[in-house]
């Protein structure tokens, strides 16, 4: 008997909403969340009073009680928060779908509101404030990094990236070719930070080092202010709502022994993302989907090296082969696996991963700015949480 997986297609995404993505929202995370949730409910043709479940990230600053009394939810019967920072971003779909499938809730709102750029502390800044535990984001281990000057997400992830480069002969330009593709997508996306601003590989290579020899400035996502919200309900009810339901074909989490999140430094072989290998096994083999059925991929790209490593971990190419897969144009609209068609977190902006779910919904609805023809099935990976969305 195979491993247990979420009931296939039991829940669907029926509404999606967002604010603008900017560098200075000029309003609180609570207001941003209210705006995106309200937009998502309008999109679903549902009312606040229909909502009985709410899901977000442990690190989201918006309190449920404040959200309820602002948006006007009448009775919340289920709420959950997902740990693992951005690595948990797709986990909101797993929890929402599980709540719907179990009967714990009928209509669930999933949201993330963030002021990563203009908030009290820029997301990527060098911080030494004591934080032995950190909101259950999976970064308790930061205490083991801070005294040594390892203070930022880029520095935590770089230790894995350098081992990856060493093991497989990957070079900075290999990451750069992925970034050029992401920025090409972003250039035609009016919502993107990189709108009308594509880059060349030379510009990538000439941008300053953040972490040598793996992360140039242009390998980094952009700290962003904004919010994304999604509305999830049972697929039966979804059929009566205005949009074609985007079914949650499967959604899963894979966390391995001693695996951390950005600070994943203790697994034996850091040249592979073995947590993502486990995630891929759960999404494809266990849930009965084929990689050949994927029309579009959305892959968490806070920094470009983890995009390549996830492509390999998910099984879209062999280990060490993502650089060739990308050089062959696979990530482009006419490639074998159009990927991060909104520009990704690097090109569009960093709503902590939830804007990748938004893009998956738009692709399957046929409303993306860089639309994949006849897209029917999408995979979303945030390295340790992921989902397959489908129209079938």
């Amino acid at each position: 008997m195979g491993r247990r997986t979420l009931a296939r297609g039991a829940a669907s995404i029926v509404g999606a909403g967002c604010t603008e993505f900017s560098r200075r929202a000029g309003r609180t995370e609570l207001q941003l969340a209210c705006e995106s949730i309200s937009a998502a409910l309008d999109d679903a043709d549902l009312a606040a009073a229909d909502v009985d479940g709410i899901v977000s990230y442990t690190v989201d600053p918006v309190e449920e009680t404040e959200l309820v009394r602002s948006v006007g939810f009448e009775e919340v019967n289920f709420s959950a928060r997902i740990p693992y920072g951005g690595g948990g971003s797709v986990g909101v779909l797993q929890h929402a779908a599980a709540a719907v499938a179990s009967g714990a809730a009928e209509v669930v709102v999933a949201y993330r509101a963030i002021r990563a750029r203009s908030g009290a502390s820029r997301f990527g800044s060098a911080k030494t404030a004591p934080s032995p535990t950190s909101g259950h984001s999976g970064t308790t281990a930061m205490q083991w990094c801070m005294p040594f000057g390892v203070l930022t997400p880029a520095s935590w992830m770089a230790l894995n990236s350098v081992r990856y480069m060493h093991e497989f002969g990957v070079e900075s330009a290999d990451f750069g070719r992925a970034v050029v593709q992401l920025r090409e997508y972003a250039a035609t996306n009016p919502a993107a930070w990189g709108f009308q601003n594509p880059i060349t590989l030379d510009e990538h290579q000439e941008s300053r080092w953040i972490v040598e020899p793996c992360i140039h400035l242009l390998d980094c996502c952009q700290e962003t202010d904004g919010s994304v919200a999604l509305v999830i309900t049972g697929s039966q009810r979804a059929a009566d709502l205005p949009h074609t339901p985007v079914r949650i074909g499967t959604a899963s989490t894979a966390g391995l022994f001693e695996q951390e999140i950005a600070s994943d430094h203790y697994r034996p072989d850091l040249s592979v993302m073995d947590g993502t290998m486990a995630l891929g096994r759960r999404l494809f083999e266990d849930a009965g989907f084929s990689r050949d059925d994927i029309d579009v991929a959305l892959i968490y790209d806070a920094f470009s090296p983890i995009l390549l490593m996830q492509l390999e971990g998910l099984g879209f190419c062999g280990f060490g082969e993502a650089k060739d897969f990308i050089a062959d144009g696979s990530l482009a609209l006419d490639g074998s696996l159009p990927t991060n068609t909104n520009g990704g977190l690097i090109g569009e902006g960093y709503i902590h991963g939830l804007n990748l779910v938004l893009e998956a919904v738009r692709q399957l609805r046929g409303t993306a700015v860089n639309q994949v023809a006849d897209a029917r099935t999408a995979v979303i990976s945030a390295s340790r949480t992921g989902a397959i969305l489908t129209l079938d």
């Binding site: 934080s131 205490q143 990094c145 390892v150 350098v162």
Partner: protein, 138 residues
């Protein structure tokens, strides 16, 4: 404060992590060893994941290891550190991995697999912490 006084922040010590930092403060590199099954573990934690024992011994470590990975940190810069910081993952000969940083080496001479060994440097509030330098004549 003297211009050359150490500025790097002292570790944040919790009840679970004190075993490591308290020894380091005295210039000793240690790890927890499970009193039930003998397994070494780092970072420290209350229970052995192999046998569920709550009993621990303190194992003194040699400080000898090899460089598993590194990262040369240029930006953003924090005033407590000198840049570039060379962050390091060191696989110790006893079989556990430590995150630390390298000293006494040019960034261009850093190689994965190079032998390194621990020495101790002071932090702003006084306690020593273990950092690594290349082992000579390796």
């Amino acid at each position: 404060m003297a211009a050359d006084a150490p500025t790097r922040p002292s570790p944040t010590v919790t009840d679970d992590s004190a075993v490591f930092w308290d020894a380091a403060a005295e210039g000793r590199l240690v790890a927890q060893r499970c009193a039930g099954c003998g397994r070494l573990r780092h970072p420290p934690r209350p229970m052995c994941p192999a046998c569920s024992s709550l009993e621990v011994e303190i194992a003194e470590l040699s400080g000898q290891g090899t460089l598993y990975s590194y990262a040369i940190l240029h930006h953003p810069q924090h005033p407590a550190f000198e840049y570039p910081v060379i962050a390091a993952l060191v696989d110790l000969e006893e079989g556990i991995r430590l995150l630390s940083c390298l000293t006494d080496v040019s960034k261009d001479d850093v190689r994965i697999g190079m032998p390194v060994h621990a020495h101790f440097v002071p932090t702003a509030d006084g306690p020593l912490i273990p950092v690594f330098r290349p082992t000579e004549d390796s």
